[in-house]
């Protein structure tokens, strides 16, 4: 393990150095895939299914093929005739065909693809394709999909072999459940029998879309030498290379995936999306082909899982949590994408970061005839936090206990066992909770509530409002096993390059990796160039997602830089006649620790080693974490992850009693980031995910009718804007150094998203005495809930506001 003790005199890490991508981004020069133009490039369009579930009887592409400007039309029937082509893909199950073969499974399922001279010609031609369908009965939600004898979305399933954690997964035969995660710990039934109180509730969280402002876009071409080059808006270049090589029967070396800047990803751009079909068209036409989704297509490409969680908790008279039983149902849509991993990883956290001796969890990944669901910032955890943190709040208030104190008393501590049987370490969840509670002045006013709101006037008219405060915590585990490789090159002039497959999608990874290299080699951050993913030269990396890049790629880059430093010190130690252990690197020099003026500049070190100008020293490293797979029957594992990340949120809300409108007045969100490499960027990540999540809590929701998405455009689907930012919103960094993190860092991409909805829901409860169990917390739902609880509320009117459960 690389020494991390250098954090003390660190100067490039631990500071909010300016972003290295700043100048390009404020001048509009930063290039995205959508800006990619290749000479001779064709444009592609897809024809999509109008039905949720149907057999394809016949396709007539004749008119499309002769439409002016059209170079190629491809359908599923063509795929099966192409020798050497495996038309199915998917990171968990190879269940998705490049274009529908035999069956369509959701409204929007791609059926045919056209490549033409212009985007317009391609779209016109796609509309000329005639498809005859035989409609099949569809399963439009999880309930329908689970019914005995329900139509099957997939008759056969083939597991993918891409990732160790997904190789062993098995679908339940002849059902729509494509994966069932089970966790069994202790004796739940006995504990419930002994419990003084039993709480049982069902919580739901709706489908929502990522809505990156840059939609999915891919450009593919084949060189004369037989190299398939794909530049794509993907968060997983290494996986895409593997997948394309397998589909087209090519050596990995003959597939080159490059990724420039991404215009946002948030999980939407993970795994295969447009790459297989675009590559297919490029191979067919021997021309470069570009496929870019419209906003409407983006909405049916991937989304955040709609989830129903049934949660039952047995509590002792003194408040101890004796047992928790959770059943989580994930609507994964028509193709599994990465859903089984979502169901597994979020599933095993579904009882929360609490000390509970008896736990039973069942987490079901269910196929339906809806568009596919997959990874979304938080990877399913926000949905289960919504359930367990709402219920934990209900328990505390019912027992007349302060929700913050109650959580504090029962949260897991260092060394305690998680529901998986994994000992917890480096876990600052209580510190996060305390920090957010302090920030919103928890305790000024009674448990969870604010003093009665002052009379609010709008245009002179008084509004009846109530205010309340709420908190929530959340926990997520880093993906394990996972792998990051990196190469660091130090140049003779003291500048350096980093070759890494981490995708810069706004999180600041270019700056972070440059900081780590600058620190390790004693060079300047602006002199470090991070080379964007190019699988021809950048080593394998599992994915840019899952809050893993700082920890995993950070470690790989740190180790690679350390190998360069060893070489640098070896050369310098010869020259300076001093032991390499006594050398240090800083300000572009290598010098003796105890005699700083005894040293060499980096160019002088290179001069001593090489008889040429412009030479390089190269270091490489692969950082790999391991895990013990969870037991098939019990979900137990001594080491389910190497890193936990935890956060907490606190909200003060105001609810308008006439309109049902919820306004977040004050919001604080804390994340345990380990040691921050760039504090400003950590806060940016925390804030960004909080603001986005506030929108998801209050209004975001995909609506379907008969399997058809009805609000899939920016005119109909609202996302958080300037006006949705609470007047006071505070991101808080909590530092608990991770022993294995680079310079003690963990990661922060998702932490801010975990507990937002539950904190707001708990605040609404504190204000109204009404608990909402279905997201989003729309005015209609709030009014409806108030009407149902009117008697209870009337009884409380006029009292000091507080929130009994």
């Amino acid at each position: 393990m690389t020494r991390t003790g250098e954090g003390r005199d660190a100067r490039a890490v631990g500071r909010s150095v300016p972003r290295v991508d700043g100048a390009e981004k404020v001048t509009g020069r930063a290039a995205y895939v959508t800006d990619c133009v290749v000479p001779g490039m064709l444009h592609a369009a897809l024809l999509r299914s109008p039905l949720p579930h149907a057999r394809i009887r016949r396709i007539d592409a004749g008119r499309a093929a002769t439409h002016p400007g059209v170079s190629a039309v491809v359908t599923g029937a063509d795929l099966v005739q192409m020798p050497g082509l495996d038309p199915y893909f998917g990171p968990a199950f190879q269940d998705q065909a490049i274009l529908a073969i035999d069956k369509v499974r959701f409204v929007g399922d791609p059926v045919a693809a056209v490549a033409a001279a212009t985007r317009e010609a391609a779209r016109e031609a796609a509309q000329l394709i005639e498809v005859e369908y035989e409609e099949l009965s569809a399963v439009l939600d999880v309930q329908a999909a689970l019914r005995a004898g329900a139509p099957l979305v997939h008759e056969r399933l083939r597991p993918s072999q891409a990732f160790a954690d997904l190789m062993g997964i098995e679908a339940e035969r002849q059902t729509n459940v494509c994966y069932h995660f089970k966790l069994r710990r202790g004796d739940v039934e006995r504990a419930f029998a002994e419990a003084a109180h039993v709480f049982e509730d069902t919580y739901t969280s709706p489908a929502a879309q990522h809505a990156p402002l840059e939609p999915h876009v891919t450009v593919a071409w084949v060189t004369e030498g037989g190299l398939l080059h794909v530049t794509s808006s993907t968060q997983s270049p290494s996986y895409v290379r593997l997948s394309l090589a397998r589909i087209f029967g090519l050596p990995l070396s003959k597939v080159r995936v490059t990724v420039p800047y991404l215009g946002g990803g948030y999980g939407a751009k993970t795994y295969d999306k447009l790459e297989p079909v675009t590559a297919l068209l490029a191979l067919r036409t021997r021309r470069p082909v570009k496929l870019q989704l419209t906003r409407e297509e983006e909405f049916v490409t991937i989304h955040k899982h709609a989830v129903t969680t049934r949660i039952r908790t047995g509590v002792a008279a003194d408040g101890r949590l004796l047992a928790r039983e959770v059943a989580v149902y994930w609507d994964s849509g028509a193709y599994a994408d990465i859903a089984p991993r979502v169901v597994h990883k979020s599933g095993y956290t579904a009882a929360g970061p609490y000390a509970i001796p008896n736990v039973k969890i069942d987490s079901y990944c269910v196929y339906t005839n809806r568009p596919p669901a997959g990874a979304f910032r938080g990877f399913g955890v926000p949905q289960v936090v919504w359930a367990y943190e709402s219920q934990t709040d209900a328990i505390a208030t019912r027992l007349g206990l302060d929700p913050v104190a109650y959580r504090r008393a029962h949260l897991l501590r260092e060394g305690d066992l998680f529901a998986t049987g994994t000992p917890m370490r480096s876990l600052a969840v209580i510190e996060c909770l305390d920090a957010v509670a302090r920030e919103i002045e928890w305790g000024s006013g009674l448990a969870g509530s604010s003093p009665p709101a002052p009379e609010v006037r709008e245009a002179g008219v008084p509004r009846r409002v109530l205010r309340g405060k709420g908190v929530a915590v959340g926990i997520k585990a880093a993906l394990a096993p996972s792998i990051s490789g990196a190469t660091v090159m130090l140049n003779a002039d003291g500048s350096a390059s980093v070759l890494s497959s981490t995708v810069e999608m706004g999180q600041g990874s270019d700056t972070l990796l440059a900081q780590i290299v600058a620190e390790a080699l004693g060079v300047r951050v602006p002199d470090v160039q991070v080379v964007h993913p190019d699988t021809a030269v950048t080593p394998y990396d599992t994915i840019t997602a899952a809050t893993r890049s700082t920890f995993h790629m950070g470690n790989a880059v740190l180790q690679a830089a350390a190998r360069v430093r060893e070489q640098l010190f070896a050369i310098a130690s010869d020259r300076l006649e001093v032991d390499p252990d006594l050398l240090r690197a800083r300000d572009g020099r290598v010098f003796v620790a105890e005699a700083e003026d005894r040293g060499l500049t980096i160019p002088e070190v290179f001069g001593a080693a090489f008889q040429a100008a412009g030479t390089t020293l190269v270091g490489e490293a692969v950082y790999q974490t391991s895990a013990i797979p969870t037991d098939h029957e019990t979900g137990q594992s001594e080491r389910v992850t190497v890193m936990w990340f935890v956060g907490a949120s606190a909200a003060e809300v105001e609810v308008d009693l006439e309109t049902g409108q919820v306004r977040v007045l004050r919001f604080a969100t804390a994340a345990d980031v380990g040691r921050p490499i760039n504090p400003h960027h950590c806060r940016q990540q925390i804030l960004g995910s909080a603001v986005t999540s506030i929108g998801q809590t209050l209004f975001e929701c995909l609506h379907f009718e008969g399997g058809q998405l009805t609000n899939g455009s920016f005119l109909d689907y609202m996302i958080a804007g300037y006006r949705d930012v609470p007047p006071i919103i505070t991101p808080i960094i909590v530092e608990r150094a991770h022993p294995e993190g680079p310079y003690g860092a963990k990661g922060v991409g998702e932490t801010g998203a975990l507990s937002v909805a539950a904190a707001i829901g708990n605040a609404v409860h504190a204000a109204l005495g009404v608990r909402l169990r279905d997201l989003p917390l729309t005015p209609e739902r709030v009014l409806q809930a108030m009407r149902e609880r009117e008697p209870a509320r009337a009884a409380r009117r006029g009292q000091v506001e507080r929130g009994p459960g």
Binding site: T27, G28, L213, G721
Partner: protein, 183 residues
């Protein structure tokens, strides 16, 4: 479709073109003039990523027909910096890190420039209102509000016009966020 003659000034340079009547300004700028800082987020006027200045006023290039710009002047993000020197609002976005993935950034900056032309000393409320049509899914709104306020300050300094309205407490708080360590 018939092509129409079009003379338009883009970023200070006059272009004599011929365009179909249904060509969007967005496509003209990107596909014909190679100005890739003009970005398409939705194509229906709902996200603001395609914002350009038309005679100094922010418009959605996805909803503007190219022919309607005849004889007018268009500014894109590429035309904002002069002689390699960033516009004060760009400089402010850089300093306040009013960007993450950067996809919405050109539209944000140009809308902010439009605001400051109309109102050199906006309040947080006014910034929120004026930029309300520009979406950022990285949701860096707090950083961007700070950036616009700082941009306003820089513009006033550059134009020799000191602030007419003192900064409210809310602006001061937003301004304080993200401070506290050296650059």
């Amino acid at each position: 479709m018939n092509r129409n003659p079009l003379t338009v000034s883009v970023n200070g340079a006059e272009h004599v073109l011929s365009v179909p009547g249904d060509r969007r300004l967005l496509d003209l700028l990107r596909d014909e003039l190679g100005l890739m800082g003009v970005r398409e987020g939705c194509g229906v006027g709902a996200c603001g990523t395609c914002t350009v200045l038309l005679d100094g006023v922010p418009v959605n290039a996805c909803l503007t027909l190219a022919v309607t710009t005849r004889g007018r002047s268009v500014t894109t993000i590429e035309g904002l910096a002069r002689d390699g020197e960033l516009h004060p609002v760009q400089q402010a976005f850089l300093e306040e890190r009013g960007f993450q993935c950067g996809f919405c950034t050109p539209g944000m900056i140009l809308t902010a420039v439009g605001l400051l032309r109309e109102n050199p000393s906006p309040t947080v409320e006014e910034v929120t209102d004026y930029l309300g049509g520009n979406l950022c899914r990285c949701a860096g709104y707090p950083d961007m509000i700070r950036a616009v306020l700082r941009g306003a300050e820089r513009c006033r300094e550059a134009g020799g016009r000191p602030s007419a309205t003192p900064e409210g407490p809310e602006a001061a708080r937003l301004r304080a966020m993200g401070k506290g360590e050296e650059g």
